[in-house]
């Protein structure tokens, strides 16, 4: 107490008190709503700072190129690999194969898991049958059952697609099921008391009501797909972004590794932006029903 006189102490206490309270609301904001305000500029700033640090660290030799190659070196690899290819395949071939595996598995998973999830939502028998299967394998890491998939399906395309498919199935099925559960009973009752049949209630009420959750599930699932891609391409692949990264790491070609990571990141980001656009178009009522 002897360090501060009373005036200073009061000033400190006042500042502490102000910090304990939420900031006053600006126009268009709600007082106390968590995470008020736009964060776009800050995000842009984060990216700039990271890139700038990357520049500085490599330029001043704080980190050896083996551990972190410079941005210019990575850019040079992008140009180089797209012109001459890497490991006997061009960059577009690598991207093409990976995209084919991820989106092929995604299409198969969406066509099977969403109907299964909806069925689990609307039907007691289907829920009872599928629930233990989905809930058991869902938390397993794909790497754990990769050997089994290889033993069953061999080392061809089948095992790669199956592995990614399995990683996507659970989130898609569970989101479709949760979507079905999110429909308000009043909406269902209203449809029945306007003369709807069970089929019409499913088609015109339950499916549209489940759509926001299904779209969210798709975004989560495609993320799982990219996560699993590298594991899938560990097995006897000759092309693909995951294969490219793994091969480059064997030759300590760190710049190719980073380039591959950036490619996967950009592809995943583009797909996610597309999905968000689709969400705005298809379910503008999300959260406002």
């Amino acid at each position: 107490m002897s360090l501060l006189d009373e005036k200073q102490r009061n000033a400190v206490l006042r500042t502490l008190n102000e910090l304990r309270r939420a900031a006053p609301a600006r126009p268009g904001e709600q007082y106390g709503a968590p995470g008020n305000g736009s964060s776009l500029l800050l995000s842009f700033g984060t990216v700039c700072v990271i890139v700038a640090l990357w520049f500085l660290a490599t330029r001043n030799g704080w980190i050896k190129p083996l551990f972190l190659p410079s941005p210019q070196a990575v850019w040079a690899q992008i140009v180089d690999v797209s012109r001459d290819g890497f490991a006997d395949a061009s960059l577009l071939t690598h991207i093409g194969w990976s995209a084919l595996r991820v989106f092929g598995a995604f299409a198969l998973a969406a066509l099977t898991a969403i109907p299964v999830g909806i069925l689990m939502g609307v039907n007691r028998v289907a829920r009872g049958v599928f629930d233990p299967l989905v809930e058991f394998y869902r938390p397993l890491p794909p790497l754990a059952y990769l050997p089994l998939v290889v033993i069953w399906m061999g080392i061809g395309e089948g095992s790669k697609v199956l592995l990614i498919y399995l990683a996507m199935f659970a989130p898609l099925a569970l989101s479709a099921r949760a979507g079905v559960k999110s429909v308000a009973i009043e909406q269902i009752h209203a449809a029945y008391s306007m003369g709807a049949s069970r089929g019409q209630v499913l088609k015109y009420v339950i499916l549209p009501a489940a759509l926001p959750e299904i779209l969210t599930g798709m975004r989560i699932a495609i993320g799982f797909g990219w996560t699993t891609l590298v594991a899938a391409e560990m097995v006897a692949a000759t092309a693909g972004l995951g294969f490219m990264v793994l091969t480059a790491s064997k030759f300590m070609a760190t710049d190719v590794v980073i380039m591959g990571i950036l490619m996967i990141g950009v592809l995943a980001l583009l797909f996610d932006l597309g999905m968000r656009w689709l969400e705005r178009r298809l379910v503008p009522w999300k959260g406002r029903g």
Partner: protein, 278 residues
């Protein structure tokens, strides 16, 4: 045609939670609703008003007793029994339209598609659907909002959409489950008048649930008061304040007339008695 909805000695038992005693939501309820009746149910919470409405709508089934909706005019008593079995209410149907308190509109459809939804279910072509829906949008004062999203509308307008939607199916009976419960006082009064006008024009059977004694008195032709534990009908009043309003068009005059106030106080004391007994 003289249609009526008959509730014969209906009881509803909900299974008890965790080995508890089963709950008697309704016990021995009898009620006849005839064409042109505007029946309003009023009562303390837990008295089974919503259970009764859900029974009429067909969302739940009675544990005992029968509910029928049919035309019994001119039937000799000996034949009524057979007719009742044929007319028994066993599930929801388009002849009994329901207006909910909230959450019942379909936000992926705009206003006119919500209102025309029942016609779409019946496979009626779009042009005719919209034509008929527009009629009811005009009736409820929503014509200029036909292309709006439902979530852009105020609560009062959303309830008008719900009413227009139920009317578009041309039901024989309208079941309204606290349709104005979430609205502010001014909107509420305007919608009470709108509902009265619709009832006057269409002469549909109405069953309306509310917590609000003034609202109940104002719009009912028959006011039933229910009591909890077990849920049952304890009083019935015949009232005509709604008709008085339709003649004089002065809601405030009707609601401030001495007999309105006297009846309001009488009913309030009945309901307060029930709440204190709880």
């Amino acid at each position: 045609m003289s249609l009526s909805l008959k509730i014969h000695d209906v009881s509803v038992l909900y299974p008890g939670q965790q080995k508890g005693q089963p709950v008697r939501a309704l016990s021995g309820v009898n009620l006849d609703i005839a064409a042109g009746d505007f029946v309003v149910a009023l009562g303390a919470s837990g008295c089974g008003k919503t259970t009764l409405l859900n029974l009429m709508a067909g969302f739940i089934q009675p544990s005992s007793g029968v509910i029928t909706l049919g035309d019994y005019h001119g039937l000799v008593p000996a034949r009524i029994h057979g007719a009742e079995l044929r007319d028994q209410v066993t599930g929801p149907g388009a002849e009994r339209g329901v207006v909910f308190q909230k959450h019942a509109l379909l936000p992926w459809l705009n206003v006119i598609d919500n209102v025309a939804f029942g016609l779409k279910l019946r496979g009626i072509a779009r042009a005719e659907r919209y034509e008929r829906a527009m009629h009811f949008l005009q009736l409820t004062g929503l014509a200029e909002f036909r292309d709006h999203a439902t979530y852009q509308l105020s609560g009062g307008m959303q309830q008008r959409v719900g009413i227009a939607r139920a009317l578009t199916n041309d039901p024989k009976m309208l079941l309204l489950d606290e349709p104005l419960g979430a609205l502010d006082a001014l909107t509420r009064e305007r919608l009470q008048e709108l509902i009265l006008e619709i009832w006057q024009r269409t002469q549909k059977m109405m069953f309306f649930i509310t917590h609000d004694v003034e609202e109940a008195l104002f719009i009912a032709t028959r006011l039933i008061i229910m009591s909890p534990r077990p849920g049952r009908i304890t009083h019935e009043f015949a009232v005509d304040f709604g008709q008085r309003f339709l003649e004089c068009r002065d809601a405030r005059a009707v609601k401030s007339s001495p007999d309105f106030i006297a009846l309001r106080e009488q009913i309030l004391s009945i309901i307060h008695g029930d709440e204190e007994a709880a």
